[in-house]
Structures are given as C-alpha cells and as structure tokens.
Amino acid sequence: MIDLLVIPLIKIVIVLTGVLITVMYLVLLERKVQAWVQTRLGPMRVGPHGVLQPVADVLKLFVKEDITPVRADKSVFMLAPIIVLVPALVALAVIPFGDTVSIFGKPVPLYIADLNIGLLYVVAVASIGVYGIILAGWSSNSKYPLLGGLRSSAQLISYELAVTLTFVSVVLASGSLSMVDIITAQKTNGVWFAFVQPVALFIYTVAALAETNRAPFDLPEAEQELVAGFHTEYSGMRFALFFLAEYANMIVVSAIATTLFFGGWLRPFPNVTMLWFLDYVPSWMWFVVKTFLVLYLFLWIRATLPRYRYDQLMRIGWKLLIPLAIANIIVTAAVKVALSY
C-alpha cells in the first residue's frame, strides 16, 4: 500500500512544488540574465537583488481582475489554459531526477514512474498541449488571438515532428524507450549521447526552442506584429497559467535534453574511477545543474538573436530539420547494423 500509493503521492507533491517554484525563479533568472547581458540590473527592488520579485509577481497576478470577453466561448475559454498547463506538468512523471536513493533504509527511485514507453509518453502528452493554444485563440472570439493561435499551433506541430524524429535516433542508440534505461545505456557505453548523436542534439535544441516558443522562434509573442498572440484576451491568473505552462515546458524540454544527451543524473565521466570524489555530490544535484545549464542556453539565445519570420521558421522546420533528422535516423541505423556484424 505504502509503495503503491503513499510514496508516489509524496513524490508527485515534491516534483510539482519543486517545478512550480523553479518556474517562479526561472522567470526571475531570465530577467536577471537578460539584464546582465544588456548592461542593466534587472529587478532590484523587491527583496535584496530582487529575490522576492517572483512572490510579488504571483501576488499581483492573483489580485488582477480576471476578464472574460463577453463574446467569448466561456467554458472553452476557461478550459484552454488548463489544457496548456496540465500536459507540461504531467510530462514530468517519467523524468528520472536522480539515482535510486535509500531513505530510512528503503530504496526509493527518484522518478514518479519508469514507463517502458517513457519517451513515447512524453511525445503523446506534448501533443495534447497544442489544443490549449488553438482553443485559447478560438474561444477568445477575437481576430488576433485566432491568428496567433493557429500560427503557434502550426509551429508546435511542425517542430514536434522534428523532436520526435530525434527521439527515434536516440532510441536507436540506447535500444530502449524508457528514460531510466537511456541513462543506464549512457553509463554502460561510457559516453554521453551528446557525442554519439551530435546531429540529433542540434536538431533537438533548435526544435525545442521552437516548440517552447522561445527566441528566435517566439513569433506568437512577437508584440511588434501580432500584439500578443493567442493569449491576448487573457488576464490575471488565467494569463499566469499560460505563462506557467511556457516555463514548465522549458523545464521539461531541458530535463529531457539532459536525460537523452547529457547523461541525466550521472556525474561527469561516470566510469572514470579517478574522479570518485564527484560521487559525493548527490545524483539529483547533477541533474539539476545540467538542466539549469540547458535552461541558461535558452535565456542566452533569447538575449542574443533576432527573430525569424514565420515563413522562414516553417521552412527551417520542414525543409532543414525534418530531412536532417530522417537522414540522421538512417545513418544511425546503418551504423548500428554495420557494427553488429
């Protein structure tokens, strides 16, 4: 009973609170990193160096008036932000945050579930999030949100394809769809898949930027062009849910990148016994550090690059990334077959 219900529940609560707090501070980190790049200070007023800024932001969003447009489709309008947020959080279920640890002499693996089809599960869950965006755009009953919603869902679907294809090549390298097995495979191979599958890593990084609507693919938020995209009509806490979902998605794609390409919770050089002292750092710390480095890359890119145009973005997705990903799968499979002889 305890194994079946209580421990997973505790894990779920810990992961959810952890991720929500991380989201809050990720926003602050983003503003700070942007500010440092742009020779500014960023938030400084709330708490020392602005560390309490997220709290103030959340409070502000809570007390804001929640406006529903008169001509909106009320039920769908209310449902849409939830549909966006839930898949982002549910995807966290299969991500292994660390090695199995023993708590009070009881071995506890640091993931909520190790599914045999872990990667496919992530793909499936991510594909549901698109609905929230389309429905948000549609239910607002307003021109710009509808256009923004259609645009960003088209963007999401195209880049999801590229992401899924990179998963295939990683699965070919690891021989399993389970996230835990993929990490173990990187340990037994003695090398991160980032070095085995550099092309897949490149495609994944670009496509992940596009899938999470981050710069240079942040067209749905191109205020210069479409005002604010699908969430134009949203305000208050409902707007915050979209915001939350965007950052939660960023965390999910970074965590997946860490798992698939950077050895997950493994310490650097897991097979080099000379570096035994690195084992004193708990495995989940390695995971967190790696994930944050990937997240930092996201922020760094945002502060550096201009924005693509919509047609260019679609062209990159369909004419560059997807063919490249397919070629990568074929090459990986061929190498695998050749090596097995």
Partner: protein
C-alpha cells in the same frame, strides 16, 4: 487540371487590416492600412497627420529667433540638425558670414547628432526584428551623446543649440576631450553591434532582399539620405553643396549595391564611422575666435525668398523661407522634411512582402513622425 478551374475553389479574399496609429512598432503615431492576400501585402496606404502641430503656420507668428525652438520639435531625435538647417537658411537670407569657429562647432554638433539619431534608429530597427539587446546597447552610447549635449547647452533632447549668426555660447572647458573619449568608445562599441548583427544569419535573412528599390526608382520616388545612398546613389548634401565646415572635412560617402534593407543598414553603420572621423578632424583643427557674428537685436531680413538644404541624419532637410522685409517673422516658412519624403516610398517597398517585413521596412526608412506631420 485547368488552373482557372481550380482557382475559384481555393481563392482567397483580400484582407484589410489596420496597423497603428497605436501600434508598438510604428515608431510613433503612424497609421498604415494594409491590404493583405494571406500574409502577403498587396498594397499599403500610409495615413499621416496624427502629430500635426502646424509648425509652419506657427512660424509665421514667431520672430526669427523663436523659430529655432520650433525646429527642435520637428525631428526630436535629431533636433540639432534641424536647428542648423534653419539658422543657415536665415543666414543665407541675411547674407551673414558666420565665424569659422562657430561653423566648426556646428559641424561637431551636427555629427554628434547624426550618431545619436543613427543609434536610436539602429536600436529600434534591431528591436523590431527581435534583437532587444542591440537596442539597449545603442541607447547606452546615445546616453553619452545626450550628456555631451547637456553639458554644452543644458538640454538633452530639444537643444535650441544654434543661433542665427553663430552659437549661443562657446564650448565648455574640457568638452572637446570628452568628445574625443566618446569617439573612442563609440568606435569600439560599433564593433559590438556588428558582431551581433552584420553576419548573423537571422539578421541577414530578415533584411537581405527585403524592400529592394533600384537607384532609378529611388530617385524617381524622391528618396533622400541613407535610403537613397543604400540604393547606390552617392548623393550627400554635405559633399555636393557643403555647408558649415564640411568643405574642409575629409570623409567618404558610403553607398549600397542592392538597395535592400541590409544595404541601408550597412550604409548607416558606415556613416556612423564617418561621423566619428569628421568629429575627430573638426576637433583637431578647431580654430580660435568668436562663436557669434554681429547680429542686430531685431532680425529683419530683406524681402526675398530662399531655400537651403542640409544633410540631416534622416536625409535632406530643407527650409524654404520667404520674407516680406517688413515684419519680424517670416512671411512663409516651409520645411522639406526628409522623413516625409522617405515615407512615401513605403507602399512601394512593402508590396509583395509579408506583414512581418512591414515592421522591418518601417524601421529601415527611419522616420520620425514629428517631422512627417510637422
């Protein structure tokens, strides 16, 4: 399948959307009515006049010195350039000789102003295309220029920095050293902007072959300033009809090859380098002497009319002034605003491009609505 059989099935209607006058990317209160076919712009109709304050009419009731204040409000990003064009026109009307030192200082101020204006342009142009960091870098350097102006004339935006016959005051002590220091900083930072943009693939894709206008077309439409030079026409009032101290300065007039947004960007960047070069020369050869010539208290030019043009950061700014010889204010004053002339090319530039490019193209012609609407 016959193409004309398939057409009615998949035909789309033209969509008319309105951009501005309150839109984050129209650089003020510009309104554009776009006719779209899908995302492609079929036609654009520029609607202006939201910032009309009647500067030309007001001038008929101000005396000659007070009008300098009004010229500040034309192109508020580059007021010194308009100041200079106006006072030189009046000096021409008065046949007034301006002391050499004053002409040198005017050149320095005009070039600092050009730098400041181009920095604002580069920053907002880059931000429209999504490179926010460049905007903050550019404003950082512009801030230094504003500090220099503040030290010289006390104002940061609307300078009122010129007088008919010379300048309100001589340079403050050590100002020239600060300007030279600034020149060094600016040259260094220009490399930074270029690192972020010039060879950036995304920047190239967003600006190359966007809004191409040939040299012949550019002349026909009446483009002036950097957009004209971007199309390869080496027209620069500073070179062709030198004013202030430009005849004694050595500088190049950069021209583009293709006449696209990228070329206009390169032209303006090179102009910034040339501006620094001119400032350094002018400071090096700064003559001694007075900065104001003998001008009567009450200026009353003889009857007659004249036109005089300057090269402002936006292009050729000209003043046509008619004096009746009796009153203490102009009989008629007419501004030839470069932004207005360049804005006319916008519909031609955007045709056939996508909505997102409209944003880039508003940026590339570098307009200030205060000058367009007057």
């Amino acid at each position: 399948m016959e193409p004309d059989v398939a057409r009615p099935m998949f035909d789309t209607d033209e969509l008319v959307i309105n951009m501005g006058p309150q839109h984050p990317a129209t650089h003020g209160v510009l309104r554009i009515v776009l006719k779209l076919d899908g995302e492609k712009v079929v036609d654009a109709d520029v609607v202006i006049g939201y910032l009309h304050r009647g500067v030309e009419k007001l001038s008929e009731n101000r005396d000659w010195t007070q009008i300098v204040l009004l010229t500040d409000r034309l192109d508020y990003v580059a007021s010194a350039a308009a100041n200079l064009a106006y006072v030189e026109t009046v000096e021409k009307l008065l046949s007034l000789e301006v002391p050499r030192r004053a002409r040198y200082i005017r050149t320095i101020l005009a070039e600092l102003q050009r730098l400041a204006s181009h920095l604002v342009w580069l920053g907002s142009h880059a931000m429209d295309i999504g490179a926010v960091t460049v905007f903050l870098y550019c404003l950082r350097e512009r801030e230094l220029i504003l500090d220099l102006f503040e030290e010289y004339c006390g104002a940061r935006l609307t300078y009122n920095s010129m007088r008919i016959g010379g300048l309100p005051q001589d340079l403050p002590p050590n100002w020239d050293k600060k300007v030279l220091q600034f020149c060094d900083i600016q040259m260094e930072k220009l490399v930074d902007y270029e690192t972020l943009l010039t060879h950036n693939r995304i920047w190239l894709e967003r600006t190359r072959n966007i809004g191409v206008i040939s040299a012949a077309d550019a002349v026909a439409v009446g483009l002036c300033g950097p957009p004209l030079r971007g199309s390869g026409v080496p027209r620069d009032v500073r070179k062709d009809e030198p004013y202030a101290a430009y005849a004694e300065m050595e500088f190049d007039v950069p021209v583009g090859a293709n006449g696209d947004t990228y070329d206009r960007y390169l032209v303006r960047l090179e102009e910034m380098r040339q501006s620094v070069r001119i400032i350094r020369q002018a400071l090096g050869g700064l003559p001694e002497g007075p900065v104001m010539s003998k001008v009567p208290r009450l200026i009353k030019p003889p009857a007659g009319e004249t036109y005089h043009a300057n090269e402002s950061p936006k292009g050729e700014i000209g003043f046509f002034i008619a004096s009746d010889g009796k009153s203490t204010s102009p009989y008629r004053l007419r501004v030839r605003p470069p932004s207005f002339c360049n804005l006319q090319a916008l519909p031609r530039l955007v045709r056939g491009h996508l909505v997102a490019d409209v944003i880039a193209l508003i940026g590339t012609i570098d307009i200030v609505l205060g000058e367009v609407d007057r």
